[in-house]
């Protein structure tokens, strides 16, 4: 009797162990290029007719970080401002804009070569993001108003545009 019970129990446990599990494979498609603002820019007002992000003018340069998961899939395009998105009333044609984009930090030494292949047009710098990793870009911007005219009092906001464009 005991033997029969043992045989039945062994059979049942074997059947339980033999059941098929459905293994799942999970995956997540994450963004291959992300844009991070690590430092918000601030305009300093060193003289009545100048707004500048230069540290010497009391400003802060905006810094943008590009995180690229796989190299050679994206262009990084950064455009420094050539107009205010919000400001007191100005004669816009009287504002003289200048700016520059440069690499401030890299996570992979080969990224330093990005500056050699940069394409510059209008107020846009286009970098070929060939390496995986993070690259920090600093943007400088300055606006000079007319000929010895003072900027009217008020707040001024200008936009830097940082783009990831798939190749």
């Amino acid at each position: 009797m005991l033997k029969k019970v043992l045989i039945v129990m062994a059979g049942l446990s074997a059947a339980t162990m033999a059941h098929a599990d459905n293994p799942t494979i999970r995956g997540t498609v994450a963004s291959k290029c992300s844009v991070y603002t690590t430092t918000q820019g601030v305009y300093g007002n060193p003289s009545p007719d100048v707004l500048s992000t230069a540290a010497a003018s009391g400003g802060v340069q905006p810094i943008v970080r590009y995180d690229v998961a796989i190299g050679d899939y994206y262009y990084g395009r950064i455009t420094y401002p050539n107009s205010f998105t919000s400001s007191p009333n100005l004669t816009s044609s009287a504002v003289d804009w200048a700016g520059e984009v440069d690499i401030s930090q890299v996570s992979v030494p080969a990224m330093s070569a990005y500056t050699n292949d940069v394409v510059v047009y209008d107020n846009t710098y286009q970098y070929d993001l060939t390496e995986a990793g993070s690259t920090w870009f600093k943007v400088s911007s300055s606006a000079t108003y007319g000929f010895n005219q003072a900027f009217p009092a008020g707040s001024y906001v200008a936009n830097v545009v940082a783009e990831c464009i798939a190749k």
Binding site: S31, S34, G41, V42, N45, P62, S86, S155, C164
Partner: protein, 124 residues
């Protein structure tokens, strides 16, 4: 040395705000409406300073192409993720090259530079 590294990390690791979008390459497939194609993009807002994103569809020369989405400007809170369906006309299928999202700001009374981020996926 470890202490020095810790100080450097603390000093340089300020807040960072990010804009993420996937997939890198979008594919337009037939939708439930005749002659209308659909693709889905996923947007993740890691920018604390941004709550709105605008969807854009462009041709190869960055000329805008008409499209339909639930909203062209999407409210997306910090750390929120959203799937967005974008619809185009079948006739525009060969013209569409980029599907982009651009961060939008609310007007503020501060003298500063904003960083607008735009991520563009390419149509296959």
């Amino acid at each position: 040395m470890k202490k020095f590294l810790a100080v450097v990390l603390v000093a340089f690791c300020g807040p960072a705000w990010g804009h993420e979008m996937s997939p890198t390459y979008v594919e337009f497939n037939p939708s439930y409406i005749n002659n209308v194609l659909k693709t889905t993009i996923e947007l993740f807002n890691r920018r604390e300073d941004v709550s709105y994103y605008e969807i854009e569809v462009y041709d190869k020369d960055r000329n805008p192409i008409s499209f339909v989405a639930d909203n062209k400007i999407i409210n997306l809170d910090y750390l929120e993720k959203k799937s967005i369906d974008v619809y185009i006309k079948n006739t525009d299928k060969d013209k569409v090259v980029y599907v982009c999202t651009l961060s939008r700001f609310i007007k503020e009374d501060v003298t500063k530079t904003n960083v607008s981020s735009r991520i563009c996926s390419k149509a296959k």
